[in-house]
């Protein structure tokens, strides 16, 4: 692995803020983000990602975009299926927990995505501007597929998941609404529109991401104590599977004609686990599943791994694959 890119990743203010958050939580510091700040930061990040992605999408041609979009759909609809069976058969998890984990690992993390963009920008590596559209594509399908797996395998009829209601909640939920809504707004308003709002959404993006990662560190730090109950299987899965998923994502990205930077980001998306949309959906649709598995795996294992070691590692995989 390229050591200098590892340092760029680890020594960025975002990652260091995340580490500080973990330290603060372990020290039982009184540092706590007001709930409304967490909500505001999430809203800001989703709007910023959507707007810029929509504007860049307006610059891309359909021919450039449709293959990467197909690759994204293939990834997010196949990953949850094998994740489910790995947890069910190899990990001996029950249907609900296996499905919840499949939803988390099949869906994607907007914050890991943002960290990946920041990493590429810091190193001056170019990537396709429409990548946020792929983020939007990959957010929901995996969650619905995981819930459908429960529906097929639920032990009794009363435990069936109300798919229609859940689909409505997912699509009207703030993360999809803002991401898709602002992709459309960015697309429709184009360059002139983007220039009007970029002072608020472009330059401050990394600063806001730093704040968000401090909060993510606080939550991850609190979840670390759940690692004991999570067990070695989850720990191993949370690190090994993202690596395998990233390789798959990079290969598909290359097949779809993405640049080295773009394919790396698709790899990072495949490797990431959702911890905003998926937990919200699981709390309501799979109450039998335990957050001390799914939230711990996504937030305390996979997310820290991805933003520190993972992103530069996946970049070096991509360099190798593109050679």
């Amino acid at each position: 692995m390229d050591v200098s890119s590892l340092f760029v990743s680890i020594l960025s203010p975002m990652v260091l803020a995340f580490v500080l958050g973990i330290v603060a939580a372990r020290l039982k510091s009184d540092l706590k983000f007001p709930d409304s700040l967490y909500q505001s930061l999430t809203i800001f990040l989703l709007i910023a990602i959507g707007l810029k992605g929509g504007y860049k999408l307006s610059l891309a041609s359909f021919d450039e975009f449709y293959k990467p979009a197909l690759a994204a759909i293939a990834l997010c609809s196949s990953i949850p299926i094998w994740v489910y069976f790995i947890f069910k058969k190899l990990g001996k998890f029950d249907t609900y927990n296996a499905a919840a984990l499949a939803a988390h690992y099949g869906s994607v993390s907007a914050v890991t995505f943002s960290a990946a963009l920041a990493f590429h920008d810091n190193l001056g590596i170019s990537y396709e501007g429409f990548m946020p559209s792929l983020l939007a594509i990959m957010e929901i399908p995996a969650i619905l597929i995981a819930l459908a797996l429960v529906r097929l395998n639920a032990p009794n009829a009363e435990d069936k998941v109300p798919m229609k209601a859940v689909a409505h909640e997912l699509l009207s939920g703030k993360s999809t609404l803002l991401l898709v809504g602002f992709l459309i707004i960015g697309f429709a308003s184009g360059k002139t529109g983007w220039e009007q709002v970029s002072p608020l959404f472009d330059v401050p993006f990394k600063g806001v991401l730093t704040l968000f990662l401090l909060e993510a560190g606080l939550v991850a730090g609190r979840k670390l104590s759940d690692l004991k109950t999570a067990g070695f299987f989850l720990l191993g899965f949370g690190i090994i599977m993202p690596i395998l998923h990233s390789i798959l994502g990079i290969y598909l990205g290359k097949w779809a004609g993405l640049s080295l930077g773009g394919a790396t980001i698709l790899g990072i998306l495949s490797a990431s686990a959702s911890y905003i949309a998926a937990p919200a959906a699981c709390r309501i649709a799979l109450p039998q599943a335990s957050p001390s598995y799914y939230l711990t795996a996504a937030l305390a294992i996979t997310f820290p791994f991805n933003i520190t070691v993972g992103i530069p590692l996946y970049r070096s995989f991509a360099q190798y694959i593109f050679q």
């Binding site: 967490y38 039998q288 957050p291």
Partner: protein
């Protein structure tokens, strides 16, 4: 002053819309919501990210109160983190609630 029942429901915030819809359809005329944190037998719930709790209170007749509690017990208690109870209250302007 007339005697009525105050129903208090504390549950995961993800259930907020469902509960509100349910209690209104069972006859509650209004409700008040606050966001709270705490710990029950399942898990500590103290941030918007990990999920916080919502406290829904509503003043209703004894009959509606029984209906609401029975409905919650049947629909949610087994699967979701939830606490619900009722207390006797004396209200002015009781027609407001009936």
């Amino acid at each position: 002053m007339s005697p009525l029942k105050l129903v208090t429901i504390i549950a995961a915030d993800s259930l907020e819309n469902h509960i509100v819809k349910d209690i209104q359809s069972l006859g509650a005329k209004g409700y008040t919501i606050s966001y709270v944190e705490g710990k029950g037998e399942k898990e500590l719930r103290n941030s918007a990210w990990e999920g916080e709790n919502v406290k829904i209170i509503s003043i209703v007749s004894a009959e509606v109160c029984d209906k609401i509690l029975a409905h919650l017990e049947k629909t949610y208690f087994e699967k979701y983190p939830m606490v619900a109870f009722s207390t006797d209250v004396m209200v002015v302007r009781s027609n407001h609630f009936l």
